[in-house]
Subunit: 222 residues, 2 copies
DNA sequence: CGCCTCATTGATTCTACTCAATTCGGGTGG
DNA sequence: CCACCCGAATTGAGTAGAATCAATGAGGCG
């Protein structure tokens, strides 16, 4: 897709940084080269891999939504990311998965079991760096923002990742939002209600959110 | 140093994952190849780079400690990581720095301004993946653990990164610990005091911590 | 020695959590 | 088509834990 990536020099014509957007499609192409790869369909709440399992594949989401999370011994859960169509996940720093991955709703996933060659590894770097920036930004949200700010940040993020439509389909239940934001489901629910009362959004069913005042939400989340 | 890295195939002899530890020394060697690179000494609290600046170098810490952080508009701060000697930082997903980097105490830093070639990029991937795992683990601490658990996790982490000595020198003030853990300095201080009263540690000056019951702290942090 | 910053401790407030009771909405079967 | 069911979501009341505000204490440096 993005020919820019075919030539490693194109990454950093003048500096150390990668000018291009992290491009999972390029990684896909690289992985696809010379072989077929299965597309697996997972039903809602199916586990894709578990913490501690041997990491032996990369995954690219064709459709659906996936949650990546970690657990404490007593069951407390932190969702570190939601993956949507087009995104690549499953890369790890060593031979083991450090997280759980589960389909939130029905999801089509292409699985790449080939060993990682140097070229693909290099293509993967921008994807990993993008994930790193995301995780670090999420740290700021969770570490330093109030419940309202967190929920606003979540809604804005989801909106932008879906191409900023006026009405937004959330694939995940409140419990996932809560575990993503470091809150409880009650606090998430109350915050949605507060936003509704303030006219910032309308709810058409619990998971269909019409964003009425995106700018106000964006301001809140900063 | 680590010849393992000289051959890209060695990364993943059988699977998709990187078997080796992320090895900044290998990255350093790769960067060093065919050129001199300046070592700069920064005084305490000096800025190394700022958010929004053009990312044009990689940095490797020879000695000292560095904080990487992000700010909200009103000044709230989240420290996403502390870097110690040997670690590489400053890689970004695009042409801009997304974070601030500051020396906490006097720090020697080797700066690599060379454009990133494919080989170095590939070597950098394990380092980036390690940073990603760290950030995601930190999300769990901040999102789902109590103040005591967070401080315990911080102490155990610092201890292990310094080679698990009985007495631990903290380079950073309470305000940095607080901004790293998503707490206030008062809460951090009270938690240290509580641990002292419980006999888990002794304080020899505010930044010198003798870990008395490491196992109890480790248990707390899980 | 004295100053200034950093750290500790105390009193109080407030946000988000916990526990509990409804209500809503999507799916199923009569 | 409607009634019912069940999990998910909402709402309410009370509480706990960390933040805030304020005062005091300790260490390092000129």
């Amino acid at each position: 897709m993005n020919a820019h990536f075919a030539n490693p020099k194109a990454w950093s014509p003048g500096g150390i940084a990668f000018r291009s957007e992290a491009d999972p499609v390029a990684v896909l192409s690289s992985l696809d080269k010379g072989g077929q790869h299965p597309t697996v369909t997972y039903a809602a709440n199916c586990e894709i891999y578990a913490q501690g399992e041997r990491a032996s594949a990369l995954y690219r989401l064709s459709f659906g939504t996936v949650r990546l999370y970690r657990l404490l011994a007593d069951g407390r859960r932190q969702i570190s990311a939601f993956c949507v169509a087009g995104e690549v996940f499953g890369f790890e720093a060593d031979a083991e998965h450090h997280f759980f991955a589960e389909a939130i709703c029905a999801a089509g996933i292409r699985v790449y079991r080939k060993p990682l060659d140097g070229e693909t590894a290099a293509l993967l770097l921008p994807v990993a760096l993008k994930a790193l920036v995301r995780a670090q930004e999420h740290l700021l949200v969770i570490g330093r923002q109030s419940a309202s700010e967190r929920v606003a940040a979540f809604l804005i993020d989801m909106m932008e990742r879906q191409g900023a439509p006026p009405t937004l389909e959330l694939a995940m239940p409140r419990s996932d939002i809560a575990d993503y934001l470091g809150l409880t489901i009650e606090t998430v629910s109350r915050t949605f209600s507060k936003f509704r009362e303030r006219g910032l959004l309308r709810l058409h069913g619990a998971r269909t959110v019409e964003i009425v005042k995106a700018e106000a939400l964006r301001q809140l989340s900063k």
